[in-house]
Symmetry: C2
Subunit: 213 residues, 2 copies
């Protein structure tokens, strides 16, 4: 039976799980979650799907896994892929996944939400400007780390790459311009050139254009 | 030789590493970092200590580990402690550590910084209010998860507890009042009752009162 990933196309955190599921060749299918209709915040979702009130969530038989980093570890456990080649690399992968959750995806996600998915009159400009400032320092760390490297860890793609790229392919404005960060730009090209790679809006159901219909 | 943890008392993210180091009985010592004097943002610190420009950082011989969650995993690896009793518990521990980094410590840390460590005239009130609102939802998830439980995972303390409690013992105001969250309050009491437990300001050098001298 296919694994089911509760997700939606607009969620970079979901993409962090969906992309390695897809690239690893595991059998999985997305289950669209109506985040914009309030589904993840409903008592029913918290009771039956995920008590954390968030996507992604993976179901594999009796197993239910929340948090994209946990799902990534599960994919590595099942397939041996994308986890790093030795204990040093495995620690570096874990470091980048944690750093991404702490500094990058968390802040990029909320900034993109406020700038694009709130009605213009509800956008808190001082908060957006604050987050945009913090994110510049975060992109600088990532750009610097990628100098002279094809991948964040070792010489092959890992969950470090799939975590940190979570929000960076989205076309909506959130203060990230690929041309301002040449190393990140090149590295995003490397990931997108992997066999089977898909853009988040092609890999998971749900996108701003669907909601505009 | 003792392991060295680059840290400072005001850093809840450092506490997430220092507390399990201390409780596990490993030989370690803190190395105070002058965060408030700009040390973590200096080119020298990034070059010689941590390219991510942050604390904590652990040095054990030739090994250098960044991100508190990586240091926690290393403590578990070395001592067999606090990692969860089986594969299901290990995944739950990983989930809470990631959730904490994504939702709790990241937002509580920056909010506490803005409310207490910036000069009053530089405090961005709209940003603080936004973060305080988000944090309420985060505390609610944690409080709910602790209902009927002594510990977040299984029936013993784990890195899940030591990660999520990172900022919650600090006395400075940042929108967290123990009495408003009875389950969190009780659980913080459980952690503080562990043999060898220390408050962050007692476990690591550096505190607001030191800087007031």
């Amino acid at each position: 039976m296919k694994m089911k990933l509760y997700c939606m196309g607009e969620s970079g955190n979901s993409y962090k799980a969906a992309l390695p599921l897809e690239l690893s060749g595991l059998a999985w299918e997305p289950v669209w979650v109506d985040f914009f209709g309030g589904e993840t915040r409903s008592a029913e979702f918290r009771k039956n799907i995920n008590a954390l009130g968030e996507v992604p969530l993976l179901i594999d038989g009796d197993l239910k896994l929340a948090q994209s980093g946990v799902i990534q570890s599960y994919v590595t456990e099942k397939t041996g892929q994308f986890g790093g080649g030795n204990s040093e690399e495995r620690r570096e992968v874990q470091m980048w996944v944690l750093w991404d959750n702490h500094k990058l995806s968390s802040q990029a996600g909320v900034t993109r939400f406020m700038m694009n998915f709130l009605p213009p009159e509800k956008r808190p400009e001082p908060v957006i400007n604050f987050m945009l400032g913090r994110l510049k320092g975060v992109y600088a760390v990532l750009n610097e780390a990628l100098k002279g490297r094809e991948w964040l860890v070792g010489d092959a793609p890992t969950m470090a790459d799939f975590s940190c790229c979570g929000y960076l392919y989205y076309p909506e404005p959130f203060g990230f311009e690929r041309k301002e960060w040449p190393e990140i730009d090149r590295w995003l090209g490397n990931i997108a050139a992997l066999d089977g790679w898909k853009h988040p809006y092609d890999l998971m159901p749900g996108s701003p254009s669907d909601r505009a219909k």
